[in-house]
Amino acid sequence: MQEKTLKVAVLRFPGTNCEFDTQYAFEKLGYTTELVWHENEALPTDIDLVVVPGGFSYGDYLRSGSIARFSPVMKAVTAYANDGGKVLGICNGFQILTEAGLLPGALKRNNNLHFISKHQNLCVVNSDNAFLNKCENGEVLNIPIAHADGNYYIDDEGFKKIETNGQILLRYCDDKGKPVVVNGSVTSIAGVCNESKNVFGLMPHPERALEAILGSVDGVRMLEGFDV
């Protein structure tokens, strides 16, 4: 793989468990990565993307992501995002970003109360952004999911807003692209972005879909999306 210039900061909280998979994924694609411990008050200065990876930060106590969002590093992440920096939250990272108010809505316990872990089809809703620009609207991707609190909730007013602004990124769907109920999410939403389209969050794990032998390579275009 040819060396690329993009540098990715991968955050690490107590209870994070996808930080090494995430590092492996970006490095496999040729990027430079740096792990950033949650107590750091600053992010590295030479980065192009911050990834808040999956796991169970602080044991999911109180609510998933509710305690991690007050970690010192999150102040730096908020400043970075407000300054236009790109941030991607995967699974627990998505929960942390909604708790931090960097993304709209909230993630509740799955409607069937189960931890759901399987490959899942996702329909690309809006590819007009830094994350999904290498995908097509309406395209069906196959990415693993693994979560108990992935039931995306947003009130009617908020929903209209994110729908109109093209902030809905992905929906759970069948192999034809028809939305399906997986965890009870409002209109089967699997991922959203903020209004200015520089903060992205999704419950599925693109970093686990890079190798055909593991069932899918659809995650590659998501992670490479930031390299524009």
């Binding site: 109180l62 609510r63 509710s66 305690i67 007050f70 909604t98 708790e99 809505g105 909230a106 509740k108 316990r109 799955n110 409607n111 069937n112 109360l113 039931n151 909730y153 947003i154 009130d155 009870g184």
Partner: protein, 79 residues
Amino acid sequence: MTAVVNVFLKDGVLDPQGKAAHHALDSLGFSSVGDVRIGKQIIIKLDTTDKAKAETEVKEMCETLLANTVIEDYTIEIN
């Protein structure tokens, strides 16, 4: 003083745990059950005797950390 905080999902936000408990109660023959909501109770010991101050402070705790007001409501009782 002690603050008792109750946190529940808002009305209109589906409570899957409440629904599961409701079904279980139904199947056990408790036919009079109309609705079940499951929340959490947080008990906070406070180093103050000023009730008004305690209330203000606990409300701030709820808004900041203890409840996610996108999906949850809370009540505060100071004893």
